[in-house]
């Protein structure tokens, strides 16, 4: 009976707008850049490919890109799996807070995260200082600066929430029944996990691993700042080639290779995810879980808390601490100083203005991204297997494409009216939308797929016109997915820096821009201000998504 759902023509009509958006703001700019890179002298420029494949250096870059992404994915999954288990199977104090806290890393600009990690894990960071005070000497317990491990830890910090949410969402839906049946058949706890639970979790595990892998594969800030010059991924290499070496053709070749791989991974991901059908951030408070009993369960619970505390909460907390402590002790001067335009600079950003602008861009991003993401989901839902996976993968590409390449593409592609957006303030929310709508797509599509078609048909037979079906059935049923999608769009817009920094824009500074500006000049005051602004960014973002959730519940 499934047949009735698919309607290729209707799908094409619905998906036309998202595709138009993608073509205008993604494909067209990229093509312009590629054309300029390869065909500027009339003929096709082959040399650059020759150079790429003749140099050992680039092979090393590719190798390292894959290697670190694989390792990061493995570590993230291994760390988040126990957390997801405990989250779905036990009830414990602070459960909701835990979920919120793990989302915060997602919004933080990399430079802030780097500072947080430095403050926490650096040579004079909290851990080493605590160690030194205990050992009495000035010994260094951990030395992670510019090591692979710091990269992996930072990726874990950023992506923990992805695995945690997808897997626990899926786990909650599975319920305990199968595991209980296996127990009746005499399987031990470990055997149950290996033979029953793990295979059942496969779709969620694959889907979340692939997503994490894709993110790590195109990781930029973490590699550049925390990894240091010794580590180079395709993404950082594109940046170097384009911005510092003026070697646009090489940057373009690398971009093409990166897009090719992303498409490949996305294809895999979409095929898997179609089966898994878990909302990326769906509500999963189905099963409240039981209380931990016995020392073993309690220890596991505490260990889990300890893990989240150590790797997620402490780095964030160290930012707040740094913002209120200076060499002179506790002070709010970092915050009050934000309001003073000591130099009378025209670029002075008062925090209320930066917050306002960030908020407005966040709102615009929500509106654009929801519009495009929801249309895209509805369109994809109309296609049969192959076609739906194809459109799904294509539409996900902007998620990983190098900000530099795209930013430069904007400059040469969007230069004639009516598309002369190069110095329009709209360019910022548009760039944010490009990164945000794939998340909307990812959280709305599964929700949409989980609506039984009979509900729509029932409404139709009861006299609802197609529009009424949409507003009375589809929309309310994907509401929770829409709210999470809105949270995502908002969060991404609040923290986004890379894409905007490569697009020329009039001075409407957002909070991350302000943070960068403070960090751009020497002086302890500037550093303090950057920490204060980062803390404000976290607070504003968290309160933003609390408001969105509240608004969603009200309606």
């Amino acid at each position: 009976m499934k047949k009735g759902r698919y309607n290729t023509l209707a799908g094409l009509v619905i998906i036309a707008f998202p595709l138009l958006f993608l073509s205008l703001f993604y494909i067209f700019p990229l093509m312009s850049i590629f054309k300029l890179s390869f065909f500027s002298d009339g003929g096709f420029n082959v040399d650059i490919f020759k150079k790429l494949f003749s140099k050992n250096y680039y092979y090393r870059v590719f190798y390292f890109t894959f290697f670190q992404a694989l390792l990061s994915t493995f570590v993230t999954v291994a760390a988040a799996l126990p957390g997801a288990y405990i989250y779905t199977h036990y009830s414990f104090p602070g459960k909701k807070l835990l979920k919120t806290v793990t989302t915060i890393p997602f919004v933080l600009p990399t430079v802030v995260v780097a500072a947080a990690f430095q403050a926490f894990l650096g040579k004079k960071g909290v851990i080493n200082q605590v160690y030194a005070s205990f050992s009495g000497g000035s010994g260094v317990l951990i030395h992670l600066d510019q090591t692979l491990w710091l990269i992996i830890l930072a990726h874990l910090f950023f992506n923990y929430t992805i695995v945690f949410r997808i897997v626990s969402g899926f786990w909650a839906q599975l319920g305990n029944k199968t595991a209980e049946a296996a127990k009746m058949l005499g399987a031990s706890g470990f055997k149950i996990f290996i033979k029953i639970t793990l295979p059942l979790l496969k779709p969620a595990l694959y889907a979340s691993s692939l997503l994490v892998f894709i993110f790590c594969f195109s990781s930029f800030g973490v590699i550049l700042i925390l990894g240091g010059p010794k580590f180079s991924t395709v993404e950082t290499e594109i940046y170097k080639q384009a911005v510092y070496l003026f070697n646009l053709p090489m940057a373009s070749v690398l971009s093409i290779i990166q897009i090719f791989f992303t498409f490949l991974f996305m294809w895999l991901y979409s095929s898997i995810q179609k089966k898994a059908c878990v909302e990326l951030m769906g509500d999963f408070s189905v099963n409240p879980g039981k209380k931990a009993v016995g020392w073993f369960e309690k220890t596991a619970l505490i260990l889990n808390y300890g893990f989240v505390l150590l790797f997620i909460i402490l780095p964030i907390a160290s930012l707040f601490i740094k913002s209120v402590f200076s060499a002179q002790g506790f002070t709010f001067s970092n915050y009050t100083g934000l309001f003073e335009n000591k130099l009378d600079s025209i670029f002075f950003v008062s925090p209320n203005k930066a917050i306002l602008f960030s908020f407005i861009f966040g709102l615009l991003t929500i509106i654009f991204a929801l519009f495009i993401g929801v249309l895209a989901s509805f369109g994809i839902e109309h296609f049969k297997n192959r076609l739906s996976v194809f459109f799904d993968s294509i539409l996900m590409l902007p998620l990983t494409t190098s900000a530099v390449t795209l930013g430069f593409g904007f400059i040469i592609a969007l230069d004639t009216p009516p598309l002369n957006l190069r110095n329009s303030f709209l360019l910022v929310p548009l760039a944010h939308t490009l990164v945000a709508y794939p998340f909307v797509l990812r959280s709305v599509l599964p929700a949409l797929r989980s609506i039984p078609n009979s509900l729509r048909e029932a409404a139709m037979v009861l006299g609802a016109k197609p529009g009424q079906v949409f507003f009375n059935i589809d929309l309310p049923m994907i509401k929770s997915a829409l709210i999470t999608a809105a949270v995502f769009a908002f969060t991404i817009s609040m923290g986004e820096f890379g894409a905007t920094s490569f697009t020329a824009r009039p001075q409407i500074p957002t909070m991350p821009v302000a943070i960068y500006r403070y960090l751009g000049q020497p002086g302890a005051v500037n550093y303090g201000h950057a920490m204060a602004m980062s803390s404000l960014l976290i607070l504003v973002t968290v309160s933003g998504f609390l408001i969105i959730e509240k608004l969603g519940k009200d309606k």
Partner: protein, 373 residues
């Protein structure tokens, strides 16, 4: 004339789902589409509702073609197999949905919904959420929702399929009562014959996209036209035979004299059906044991060429206890191949497998069902 289906055909993925279906239903009566799953009955229902379009053919309602009218303009009602209740709305909101879509005033909606909830026995459920309802309650909500806009035709797609047996039996009766009370024309899809008998005025038996037989419930039970219909209605005792003289059919288990014969040529092969309720356990070819009627029985075994009852000798091969009765399998010793008879025996007779015994087949329980050339 209410609904008229004119040679509807439909293919899906190059598979024929419906093949030139035609029939009609009188206004106010209940038609049941009965058939195994995958025979196309749900597709036909969806075509009537407008959720699918036929490849060819026409659907007429009150004499007008409605094939090209979209579902929301047909003013039909449909009850889905999974009920398709809107999980984000409560009982009242679910039931009022159709009225809301029609743009009816709030006050009228309220009175009509409350009235319908009364009819369906759901008073006091207005604010309940769908998730908290039992299967039977969901079924009633679904029924109320499809009835309250006063559809000119109601379709029910296996509305009792997902319920347990006891509930199903109770709800069958309720359903029929409600439908009759409202007086709506209804098409009801099921694969369960008991449901069909209980609810329908007439039944159409489906097989592989074709209607095998359409007739009133009683008639279809009494005179199934072919082997498919008969076996789908639960008849197991079907035997091939040949007419050897006028009204006398020779089968592997004996000769049967059939009073009312359709025009069948001498020597043609036919199928005969022996109704289980006409088969009795007998002590000898003189009868007794399972007898109710003390008829005089002194005929030869295996014959009723003079139009009397037939006696068969054989072995009880199995007897399954079913409470009030046993389901018995009996293997007549006269048959060349192992042909079996299936029938029920009162629990007090306590049939034991392996017992050598006789059965008596009442002459009224034998009929020809199909001319197989």
């Amino acid at each position: 004339m209410g609904l008229e289906i004119k040679s509807i055909s439909k293919k899906m993925d190059d598979k024929v789902v419906l093949e030139s279906i035609s029939f009609s239903i009188d206004a106010g009566s209940i038609l049941c589409l009965l058939g195994p799953s995958g025979c196309g009955k749900t597709t036909l229902l969806r075509i009537i509702a407008g959720l699918e379009t036929p490849d060819s053919g026409d659907v007429l309602f009150h004499g007008k073609s409605i094939t090209k009218i979209s579902p929301h303009k047909r003013n039909f009602g449909m009850m889905f197999q999974d009920f398709a209740l809107f999980p984000h709305k409560n009982v009242f909101e679910n039931v009022m949905f159709g009225l809301e879509m029609k743009g009816i005033s709030k006050s009228e909606i309220k009175t009509r919904v409350i009235e319908m909830l009364n009819v369906t026995g759901l008073s006091g459920f207005e604010k309940r959420s769908i998730a908290g309802l039992s299967g039977g309650e969901k079924q009633r909500v679904a029924l109320a929702r499809s009835l309250v806009p006063q559809p000119s035709l109601l379709m029910l797609d296996e509305p009792l399929g997902s319920l347990d047996r006891a509930l199903r039996e109770k709800l069958m009766v309720d359903l029929k009562n409600i439908l009759k009370k409202v007086g709506v024309t209804a098409v009801f899809v099921t694969h369960d014959q008991a449901e069909a008998y209980a609810v329908a005025d007439s039944i159409a038996v489906f097989s592989k996209g074709k209607i095998e037989q359409i007739a009133s419930s009683q008639k279809i039970y009494r005179y199934p036209v072919n082997k498919f219909v008969a076996s789908f209605l639960g008849f197991n005792n079907i035997f091939p035979g040949v007419q050897i003289e006028d009204g006398l059919i020779q089968t592997q288990i004996g000769k049967f004299k059939i009073g009312k014969l359709p025009a069948v040529n001498m020597g043609t092969k036919v199928l005969i059906l022996i109704r289980p309720e006409y088969i009795f356990l007998a002590e000898s070819n003189g009868g007794k044991i399972g007898e109710k009627i003390g008829e005089k029985l002194d005929e030869k075994i295996g014959e009723n060429d003079d139009g009397n009852d037939v006696f068969l000798e054989g072995i009880i091969t199995s007897a399954i206890f079913k409470g009030q009765f046993y389901s018995v399998t009996f293997e007549p010793s006269c048959s060349a191949k192992t042909k079996k008879l299936y029938f029920d025996v009162g629990y007090h007779l306590n049939p034991t497998p392996g017992t050598k015994t006789f059965v008596r087949i009442n002459k009224g329980g034998v009929l020809i069902i199909e001319d197989i050339g």
